[in-house]
């Protein structure tokens, strides 16, 4: 506990208070605006904080603030416009937009902010409780265990891809391919550099991420017509009655626990957490069949869950250095470029980073509650910014960020190419997050397996030499094989039963 108090001493420094407030406000805005997610915002801001010379702890307080702040913001556009900012708010749309249509947008926004706060804060308790425990356990991890764990992270991500697993495989492959570009650190062999001097250092993940996500979004937006989002909903008062909060209390608590647990698992993340929490609540408390018709609990459950999941996902990121999603992969890239090596030693070696960050998340969630209750009207106005200004404006920010990485115009060309590639991939429904995961995690995975095999003199049996590694191998096999088995089994039992198939996929 005294460690957490030290953390608050870091988080409550004036600069850090300003940074956490900026981070969560920015997060709310980018989470709310469809098409501009936290991934873009973090990737664009990283070169900026780097150039501004911010130390690791304040920089992370800002970047992570964007990450959990966006979970609050995405419910605003979901509830008001039925346009989820990110996939993890899709479930919120079911009852949230229904409430808006009934003229209850205010209570929906209020309960969403409160549920987000409950999920967000409760899961920080989980973070400060379990992260140090996991770190003490993971301290025994060697290259063998890390390699098996990273394989599991990839398998889990492909496993939850459901029907589009071939696409997830392609995406992971493309990410690993991009990771191999540049001089191989072990043998000094240049890989896929095409004679370009600029590629010898490898692909910078900031350039790739901004190209794939931000620039491709500009191309995608060109397909749409219309000037901007017209918010027609009337927002009389953004508040709920005490009775409604009490009525949703258990739902929020249960959803927070579900969300947190799902968030800790690699691959799953906020989308699955919110689906799971919603369907759990539907089974437990939906006695009058009101879910889907504007039930306030149907807003509270997914919002508590996806915020808890966002914090839960910080645990494997910080203590193992293994992210489970696109956004946490970008955060891992950010950690590495700030000179912080995430892993079991992070809490010991840089306590001010871990505890400062955890404490700042409490502060950030309080700010977010304040921002999202009385000030939500101000944020809603941002939704009315015309698209002809918004997307060019984001493009200009991308230029600044990409140029700041190496002061090279070559990176701007590269960004454009990745923008076109990202557009093509999105049009064929190939997910982009596994590419970033492959790009960031690929070099670490390669380094670990090569180190392991070097130490064992090339004996492959070393990869299965420890119980922890074997456990991860089994988990990897299970997450690869389970969907295939389920599919075969279902095909034999109930041919053509689509409803069960989608439920199982959740």
């Amino acid at each position: 506990m005294s460690l957490l108090l030290d953390g608050f001493l870091v988080a409550l420094q004036p600069l850090n208070l300003v940074l956490v407030l900026s981070g969560v406000s920015l997060g709310t805005v980018v989470g709310m605006l469809p098409g501009i997610g936290p991934i873009n915002a973090i990737a664009i801001l990283l070169p900026v904080v780097f150039a501004a010379g911010l130390p690791a702890a304040p920089a992370l307080i800002l970047l992570v603030g964007i990450y959990y702040g966006s979970q609050y913001g995405n419910s605003i556009s979901t509830i008001l416009l039925n346009v989820p900012g990110t996939a993890s708010a899709v479930v919120t749309a079911i009852d949230g937009y229904e409430m808006t249509k009934q003229g209850r947008a205010g209570p929906a926004l209020a309960i969403s902010a409160i549920a987000s706060f409950v999920g967000g804060t409760l899961s920080i308790f989980g973070l400060v409780l379990f992260a140090p425990l996991l770190a003490t356990w993971a301290i025994r991890f060697g290259p063998v265990e890390y390699f098996a764990l990273m394989l599991f992270a990839f398998a889990a991500l492909a496993g939850v891809a459901g029907r589009s697993r071939p696409r997830a495989l392609i995406a992971v492959g493309v990410g690993l391919f991009l990771a191999s570009v540049g001089i191989d650190p072990n043998s000094a062999v240049p890989r896929f550099t095409f004679g370009q001097l600029e590629l010898l250092d490898g692909m910078d993940f900031v350039v790739v991420t901004i190209g794939l996500f931000a620039v491709s979004e500009v191309f995608l937006e060109l397909e749409k017509s219309g000037v901007g989002q017209a918010v027609t909903a009337t927002l009389d008062s953004v508040r709920v009655t005490a009775r409604e909060v009490v009525a949703t209390a258990w739902t929020m608590l249960r959803a927070s626990v579900v969300g947190f647990l799902v968030g800790v698992l690699p691959g799953a993340g906020g989308t699955i957490a919110s689906f799971l929490a919603y369907s759990t609540e539907q089974r437990l408390v939906d006695k009058d069949d009101t879910f889907g018709t504007g039930d306030i609990r149907g807003v509270a459950a997914p919002e508590a869950a996806n915020n808890a999941a966002a914090t839960g996902a910080m645990i494997p990121l910080l203590t193992l250095g293994v992210p489970g999603s696109g956004t946490t992969a970008v955060l891992l890239g950010a950690l590495l470029s700030l000179g912080v090596t995430p892993g079991p030693l992070l809490i010991q070696n840089s306590p001010e980073v871990f505890w400062g960050l955890a404490a700042s998340m409490y502060v950030g969630n309080v700010f977010l509650l304040l921002l999202n209750l009385p000030l939500v009207r101000v944020f809603v106005r941002i939704l009315e910014v015309p698209r002809w200004f918004l997307f060019p404006a984001v493009t200009a920010l991308s230029f600044v960020a990409v140029y700041a990485v190496n002061q090279s115009t070559f990176d701007l060309f590269l960004m454009t190419i990745f923008g076109v590639l990202g557009y093509g991939l999105r049009k064929t429904d190939i997910p982009l997050a596994p590419i970033i995961l492959g790009l960031v995690l690929g070099p670490l995975m390669e380094r670990n397996v090569r180190r392991a095999l070097l130490l064992s003199d090339g004996a492959w049996s070393v990869l299965f030499s420890s119980p922890i590694a074997i456990t991860f191998w089994v988990l990897t096999l299970v997450s690869v094989a389970t969907p295939a088995f389920l599919w075969l089994w279902r095909r034999r039992r109930e041919p053509g039963d689509c409803v069960t198939a989608t439920e199982g996929g959740v």
Binding site: G173, A396, E446, R450
Partner: protein, 149 residues
Amino acid sequence: MTSAGDRVAGIAACVMALAVGVAATRFRVGFYTDPLGPGALPYLAAALIGVGGLAMVVRPGGASARPSAVVARRMAIVFASLVAYAWLLPLFGFLLSTVAILVILSHTFGGPLRRSVILTVLYVGTLYLLFAVVLGLSLPVGTLFLIGP
């Protein structure tokens, strides 16, 4: 829903897998470094892309429709201006190049000309002040303006 787009994407993935795999056979080192060598990661990448690509060719799902001619024209404009921007940035500098491309982009998105010019100039000026002056990022001034009299 057409499956042709998926087949094309699958074939493209297979071709890429093949290219990556073949290129990786040439990553050899004369001396002994480690049992895996530099080719292992590209091989794994090629295998994943190949398997995924084959699966998409064999069992194509529904791919989305191709963009219309109007949209394709807009995309070509945006692509050309992004390339031109990277090309001309060192010569004309951040302020001029960025204002120019933003006005073009904004027009492509259907923005009214006068308002987009005014907003863009204000916005790019703010960006320059914030990033170059306050945060100290180095943004190109433009060699054109450096050669002065």
